[in-house]
């Protein structure tokens, strides 16, 4: 079938605009780069800890460390899934990749929360709630920015699920890094602050991330 004049002209314009491009690295490698950024942030936090001579909580709740590991795994899998899903020819099933780790993270937090209810001394107050929330949000901002910048190059055709996965990765990584700078337990308010932080970060990523994934285009369809 012959092309219409509009299509022929568009092909001419697109060809004339062609510049060499650097191919995107495979999703697993981009996920590794993103994890390297998380590691870099962790090193900065450790440096801050050393500078301020903070030795950490003397007694750690038994649920905190498994919870942090589960959130770290959730972050890594969500980032990998976001990079996979940002490519047009990858299956929608990638969106399910972080769900098992996320379920384990929620389950560990739930168990810790139930265990803490038996110990009134373990309950924290509102200042603890707000400091946990603020730190996770603050840590999630640079990680969300890193995700958006890295995903944007792929021009994802499924911006919403990619943005949600990116938000989950950033907030889960933020919850993991919290362990390095802020002593916390599995108390109800602590865990509520984590849950709220995840909801807020995922929500903001879903609201604005999707739009930021679509850079300005020089070409418009001809009527």
């Amino acid at each position: 079938m012959s092309e219409s004049g509009d299509i022929s002209r568009l092909i001419g314009d697109l060809s004339a605009d062609l510049k060499p491009v650097r191919r995107l690295a495979p999703p697993w490698l981009r996920a590794l780069y993103w994890l390297a950024a998380v590691l870099g942030l962790a090193l900065v936090l450790i440096a801050i800890r050393i500078v301020f001579n903070w030795s950490g909580a003397s007694e750690v709740d038994p649920y905190v460390m498994p919870g942090a590991i589960a959130s770290g795994v959730t972050a890594a899998l969500a980032a990998f899934a976001a990079f996979e899903l940002s490519l047009p020819d990858r299956s929608n099933a990638w969106a399910l990749l972080p769900l098992p780790a996320f379920a384990v993270w929620v389950a560990i937090n739930g168990l810790g929360c139930v265990a803490s209810l038996a110990d009134p001394a373990a309950q924290s107050g509102m200042p603890q709630f707000f400091s946990c929330l603020a730190i996770i949000l603050a840590l999630s901002i640079p990680l969300s920015v890193a995700t958006i910048v890295m995903v944007r190059r792929a021009r994802p055709l499924r911006p919403l699920p990619v943005a949600i996965l990116g938000g989950l990765a950033a907030s889960a990584a933020g919850a993991t890094l919290l362990l390095l700078v802020h002593p916390h337990d599995s108390a109800v308010l602590d865990l509520c602050s984590h849950a709220l932080a995840v909801i807020v970060v995922v929500g903001i990523n879903a609201l604005i991330g999707g739009r930021l994934f679509v850079p300005a285009n020089n070409f418009r369809r001809r009527a």
Binding site: M1, E3, S4, D6, I7, L10, I11, G12, L14, S15, A16, D17, L18, K19, P20, V21, R22, R23, L24, P26, S86, L87, P88, D89, R153, A154, R155, L157, R158, P215, N217, F219, R220, R221, R222
Partner: protein, 204 residues
């Protein structure tokens, strides 16, 4: 030729096309304009075929092709030459077609296709014009009654009852395109009968 042999030949031809486009796209990523133009031109029939299979109306095929080519241009860095180019193009086309069908669906639900409405309501508010219009309306109703069934149905559902194309299509069981064509033909026929010009046939 036996069907199995024909099918093998078709599959081999598709694989050869895929290999050729994959190599050309890899060259285009390096900045080869001639290869890129070849890729874009060869994409057009593939995109049309996929979009048609997805249910895109013939009127929108050019829109889908243009959207896909623009998307491909923006996303060309994300193509991995170790994977099938046609599979990559197919995924882009399917998503773009769905986007366009959704947009058309939303627009179609709001749109009222009533080119006769302007003529029907032109003289409202003026008593003399109203009387003339009433007389014309009677003639028009009589003329509409003599139209072939498809054209009459299109005039009644779209122009007189002012249904949206979507609703009219559901009510009559005809496609939107058929309704549009029948309405245009009806208008032409009515003009011919009421004031000169030539009449037209019907689309099923």
């Amino acid at each position: 030729m036996a069907p199995a042999a024909h099918s093998d030949e078709f599959a081999a031809e598709r694989a050869a096309t895929d290999r050729r486009l994959t190599a050309a796209m890899a060259a285009a990523q390096g900045g080869d304009r001639a290869a890129y133009e070849l890729v874009l031109r060869d994409c057009v029939p593939i995109v049309r075929r996929i979009a048609r299979a997805q249910g895109a109306d013939a009127n929108f095929l050019d829109d889908v092709v243009q959207d896909v080519l623009i998307t491909l241009h923006g996303a060309r860095a994300s193509y991995d030459p170790s994977r099938s180019f046609v599979a990559w193009l197919t995924a882009i086309t399917q998503r773009r077609t769905i986007d366009i069908l959704r947009k058309q669906g939303r627009r179609g639900a709001r749109e009222v296709y009533a080119p006769l409405a302007v003529e029907t309501h032109a003289g409202e508010g003026n008593p003399e014009a109203d009387a003339a219009l009433r007389s014309e309306a009677r003639q028009l109703r009589a003329a509409v009654a003599t139209l072939p069934e498809g054209q009459r149905e299109a005039v009644e559902t779209l122009a007189l009852e002012e249904n949206s194309l979507e609703d009219a299509s559901k009510r009559t069981g005809r496609t939107k395109s058929a309704l549009k064509v029948n309405l245009h033909r009806a208008i032409k026929t009515l003009r011919a009968r009421m004031g000169g010009g030539e009449a037209d046939g019907e689309t099923p």
